[in-house]
Amino acid sequence: MTGRAWHASAVTVLALMTSAACRSGPRPQPGDPMLDAIRAEEREGKLTYVESQGRRLFVHYCATCHGDDARGDGQNASNLNPPPPDMTVSRMSQDPALTRRVIAEGSAAVGRSPLSPPWGRSLSQQQIDYLVAYCQSLGRETP
């Protein structure tokens, strides 16, 4: 093969490859079934990752009084006077600064009964952040 012919064929092959690459267009996106499984679960719970972290803490620390869905109907609620509020309609749970204060310093710190204790020394800052995020998601949920 002469040098000239070799050059010509190389250029042709290159041109063909380039045009093939351009023609192929957008290919179908491959799926991520593992991520999809997690996202499907999050959609079902209607909570973001951070909110679901808060919900987990809520169920452990708060639900005996406030109820599993924060409606103020926990198994211990009937023993409390004043009773815990329905947080899905309470405006207080929509105010992040106030919510944080009640969780960290107890309800007595905002001039209410001492029945909701202070968690600021028991929970980490991160955990309280999660709880506040969950409380804020409550107003959003459809009944």
Partner: protein, 670 residues
Amino acid sequence: MEVRNIAPLRLHLLFAGLGITFLLIFSWVLFHEEAAEWRTTQARFRQLEGDVKNPHQLAEAASVGGLRQVWLPDLGRIDRCETCHLGIDDPAFAGAPAPFATHPGTWLATHPTGRFGCTPCHDGQGQATDYAAAAHRPQPFVTRPMRPLETIEANCGTCHRALDPTDAPRLAEGRRLIAESGCFGCHEIPGFEGMTFRGPALDSVGYKVRPAWLASWLKDPKSYLAQSKMGNFRLSPDEIGSLQGFLLSQRMQVPLDSTGVDWKNADTANGRALFGELRCVSCHAVNGRGGTMGPELTNIGDKVRRDWLFSYLKDPHRVQADTPMLQYRLNDAQWRDLTAFLLEQYSSADTGAEPPPVTYQDARLLAAGRAVFERRGCSSCHRLAAIKETGRIGPSLAGIADRDPDELPYGGSTVRHTTDNYIFLKVLLPDTLGQPSGMPTFGFSPADAARITLALASIRKSDLPASYVVGRPALVPYRPGGKFGELVMRYRCLSCHTVGGFGGDLSTVPLDRIGSQLQRDYLANYLLNPGAVRVSVEARMPVFHLSPDEAKTIADYVSMVFLDDRFDRYDTKFTSAEARRGQELYGQLGCQACHQLGTKGGYVGPELSTTGARLKPGWIAAWLSTPQTYKPGTLQPDYGLSGADARALTAYLTSLGRSDAAKARGGKTP
């Protein structure tokens, strides 16, 4: 010497052309560097900084010119993410637009970028300095693009090796599922060393189960028990037939003699009463409710033979030396009543009469059954003396997260090639990845399979420096000797309680310092007649039917050995003023929200009206001061009490129920 310029014109032209080409390339490089994405990003940041900060803060702020990187030689990483993520550790940029926003949460307080960089948690290409090359989104030829937030806990697990890492609930749940499903029976899994999975021993299974039940169980365990921990091995009818024959011929140990038992007069009403009193549901679920330590009993009558059940209840440790089930102290008539109750109450409607045991003679069938047993690795979970240990039958999962995702099989499915997707599909549907698989189908939900994937995806080929590893504390098995040791074994105290972290976690009370927590006389009485300390807790200590002598042995041993001197040295001479102040504090702090006193108060914590007879003062004070130290995750909040306030509350609580204690000491305590 004469020098002649011999270069012809062609060469001059070549040099000129090359010179111009190099000049062009050089200026293009200069221009390209000057217009680099990160430079425009930094310019935008300086503008934003001017808006966010006041002149004084601006003067103090460090200048942000040039590439910024964290070099972590011990992790082998160079992360230049902070070249663009300029506000990442500056709280002034909370809520700023990407990429300048402060890192959310308090993660950087515990994981400063100077020590951890960014990619150990987030993945991605740390050395890149533009958005695409950093692999914020999946890129061709990038093995580990940045993890989305939803799966980031996999990277927590690379350093955090505890079974239950805090703030990583999906990872913790995945590890719990692995421990519960016994994956390490067949696979070597780093982090699960030393764990054994207890399927029942099969040495005498021929006496234990009904043939029809065994066949349906081998076909699909979920058909009998939806929560079955055993997976579906997808056996052919022939395999099921031979395995069933092989297993039913395992009759090493004859059940305890029950020929003298008068079954005709079995009192199932008494059996029902015993079922409640022994608190069987603390460990066994019935119709989906109850504990999970033992097998669910909803259809137990379909499964087991009467003589075997009688024998097992009477002495569980004879057949299954490592069972967590305790041995109660009852008589034969009581065992008969309980057996009859279980078989009558908990069997499906179409359970036929018990067939006589069949003896299988066909040697070919038995050999085929044995071959199936060995081939499918049944002995990974079930002990069978007739079979020698086959070792782990599945591949090791060490370093599984670092396998090249493009070399793994995906069985023609069009998923993105990532180790996450491979592990997920393998866990969910092991036989669909285009290779014959001996792994059973466990029937996990997709969400559970994803959590198991997270746990496995944290297992890297680890050359991680030891200083980064937050390990699982090594547990020292606790095996006391003597008469006390015998009682601990017989009543399986460690199935529910822990000593030095060793044991089960069903009980909320570790035993390590129980002698300094409880009054000895209270404990002795409690062992004989355990009541509910917390009314809201469903799993309760069973009524063991201990002899008074046994209760005395346990109470004496515990109150001499399981001690913590810090509590016992507490000054217990309280003044009446302290007790009065304690009573005030009790109301002010809202203790009544959770604790019942008399008829008033909540039932989250223990009832307190007999606290003085129950608990030792030193322990009360220590517990009230820093409850989380003694029990992480407890619902008792840390009120930050001063020493004097803790003492006042202790004085008040100690005064409650003291006269009862004196009465109890009046002679009848063992």
